[in-house]
């Protein structure tokens, strides 16, 4: 069990008021709040150790380099990567997926195929769609089941010798549903391409890595992308994990300083992993803050984080189900594997009107299409309200949100 009271005392922002009411922050799937340990780590770094990395052989340069490399090691440990060289820092999940899309699709031939699911966030949809258009590749869409999971049988039927890659989210940012990546990876890897390689799987872990234990070797995913800011760390730093043998074969994404081995007038040889993919001065302070966030989560234990998440999900689902005029999207079964990101609508009231009134009550939730227009279009929806929880969320906050729905009804349904 989490000591949520103690955890909350680490988050300065949770003690502020909004419109004169205590803040109820239920928008962690968009971005989490930060504990003072993370905020302090960043300011401590700037106050004591900042210099550029991998360049000056002076004390500050060495301290900054050590801190930056340690952040890679801590990240590798956090997701059980085989080597810290498999960890590339980007600015966010979107950049990680763009890096993959731009570099991989360069290596493929006209007519090769990419598969993404119907419920992908735009960040795992648009880069593939656009890169496919650039290189004459085919983008296929795997449908989802009515409960909100990737339809594995449909996926099986879509795989062909031209299928180079399948890229899907681990946990849906709209529905909260968690795909069985281990099983999907087996199905994907069992497919042989016409080059004799197996089809690759890229996982968008933006919602899963912050909330549940994720072991890349156990899942056997080829790539995993996620962001620091959704897991207690600062904005502006994200991660791309990739199997070393694959990253070595891929061309560089951005060019410049820091990513090179040797440069002559005519030719540039890329440097070692992961620097080959980290051109230019990186977000060093971001890496330091992210490292502190990982330590904070490891101290709680990801098993405990996930238990808390599921408990809140079940509680929120049960409370929402009691509301006759609320429609919940995605599986509401107590047995379904899902996290505490829950989308719903209130009959007769537009999602934006719901959240404007909740905002008056100090409650922060999100409304919109959650950057997943293909999914919402398929459900004939323009927008939903989404509440999402994290380690600092309490059942009382979910109660406050449900109670505030009465205010919405009072305004709109009179």
């Amino acid at each position: 069990m989490l000591d949520v009271k103690k955890i909350r005392s680490d988050f300065p922002i949770l003690h502020r008021k909004v419109h004169g009411k205590p803040l109820v922050y239920l928008d962690s799937a968009a971005s989490s709040q930060k504990p003072k340990q993370v905020i302090d780590a960043i300011s401590h770094y700037y106050m004591t150790s900042h210099a550029n990395i991998h360049r000056g052989i002076h004390a500050l340069g060495e301290e900054a380099t050590a801190a930056y490399e340690e952040a890679h090691q801590r990240t590798a440990h956090f997701i059980n990567a085989a080597s810290w060289r498999e960890i590339i820092f980007t600015k966010n999940t979107t950049e990680s997926l763009n890096l993959l899309a731009y570099t991989l699709t360069q290596m493929w031939k006209k007519g090769d195929e990419i598969i993404v699911s119907r419920k992908e966030h735009h960040s795992n949809f648009v880069p593939w769609q656009q890169c496919a258009a650039m290189h004459g590749l085919v983008l296929k869409i795997v449908e989802i089941t009515p409960e909100g999971f990737v339809d594995v049988e449909h996926l099986r039927s879509l795989l062909t010798p031209q299928t180079k890659l399948v890229s899907i989210a681990h946990m849906s940012n709209v529905l909260g549903t968690v795909n069985d990546i281990k099983k999907i990876a087996q199905v994907v890897h069992a497919n042989r391409t016409n080059d004799g390689d197996c089809t690759l799987i890229s996982v968008d872990g933006a919602q899963s890595v912050p909330h549940m234990p994720v072991d890349v070797q156990d899942l056997d995913c080829d790539f995993l992308s996620f962001s620091s800011h959704k897991m207690l760390g600062p904005t502006g730093i994200g991660v791309l994990y990739g199997k070393k043998k694959l990253l070595e074969k891929m061309p560089a994404f951005l060019f410049g300083g820091g990513m090179v081995g040797t440069v002559t007038e005519k030719e540039t040889r890329c440097g070692d992993l992961p620097w080959k993919f980290e051109a230019g001065t990186p977000n060093i302070a971001g890496a330091v803050g992210f490292s502190a966030a990982l330590t904070y989560l490891q101290n709680i234990g990801m098993e405990n984080v996930w238990k808390h998440d599921q408990e809140l999900a079940h509680y929120a689902l049960q409370r929402l189900k009691e509301q006759k005029d609320v429609t919940i999207y995605g599986s509401t079964s107590p047995k379904a594997l899902r996290g505490a990101a829950i989308s719903f609508t209130l009959a007769g009231v537009h999602a934006h009107d719901v959240i404007s009134i909740l905002d008056q009550e100090g409650i922060a939730v999100r409304a919109g299409h959650h950057c997943a227009q293909p999914l919402l279009d398929s459900m004939n929806l323009a927008a939903t309200v989404r509440l999402s929880c994290y380690v600092y969320t309490t059942k009382e906050e979910i109660d406050a949100c449900i109670a505030a729905l009465d205010k919405v009804r009072k305004v709109f349904c009179r």
């Binding site: 934006h352 404007s356 008056q360 919109g368």
Partner: protein, 137 residues
């Protein structure tokens, strides 16, 4: 946003019983667009006379109370206005019409209908509709 005010009553009134809903019979100006960030969609159609004055204007679409009420209120005020004058209507005018404080993130809701109409007028005049931005801040 104060949801207990008289202005809010008025907004909810327009939202629940919109004025000038539908499509004009003789279409001179027509434009339908979606606010990509929230999915609200509005179509505005208008009939013009020879002086390029609006003689009839209607809207259709779906969305939140703010976006729907704002265009409903606007259509009440547009008859007899020259299209040049319509192009000059701005944020302050719409907010005055609504009569409530709008959170910054929702200004684009309030402005959607007007911007759709203004882009429609630009198209009618053979100009680049992108000169007016949909994503108001």
């Amino acid at each position: 946003m104060n949801y207990d005010s008289m202005s809010m009553e008025n907004i909810l009134d327009h939202y629940k019983n919109p004025h000038n809903k539908g499509k004009v019979q003789k279409v001179d100006v027509i434009n339908r667009e979606k606010n990509p960030s929230c999915g609200d969609e509005i179509e505005v159609s208008a009939t013009l006379n020879e002086q390029k004055e609006i003689v009839a204007v209607k809207f259709d679409g779906h969305g939140c109370a703010i976006s729907q009420a704002a265009i409903s209120m606007l259509t009440d005020d547009l008859s007899g206005k020259k299209i040049d004058a319509v192009m000059k209507i701005d944020k302050e005018d719409v907010l005055e019409l609504l009569g409530i404080d709008i959170a910054p993130m929702r200004i684009k809701c309030a402005m959607l209908g007007l911007r759709v109409l203004q882009r429609g007028i630009l198209k009618y005049e053979g100009k680049d509709s992108q000169m007016v931005s949909l994503s108001e801040i």
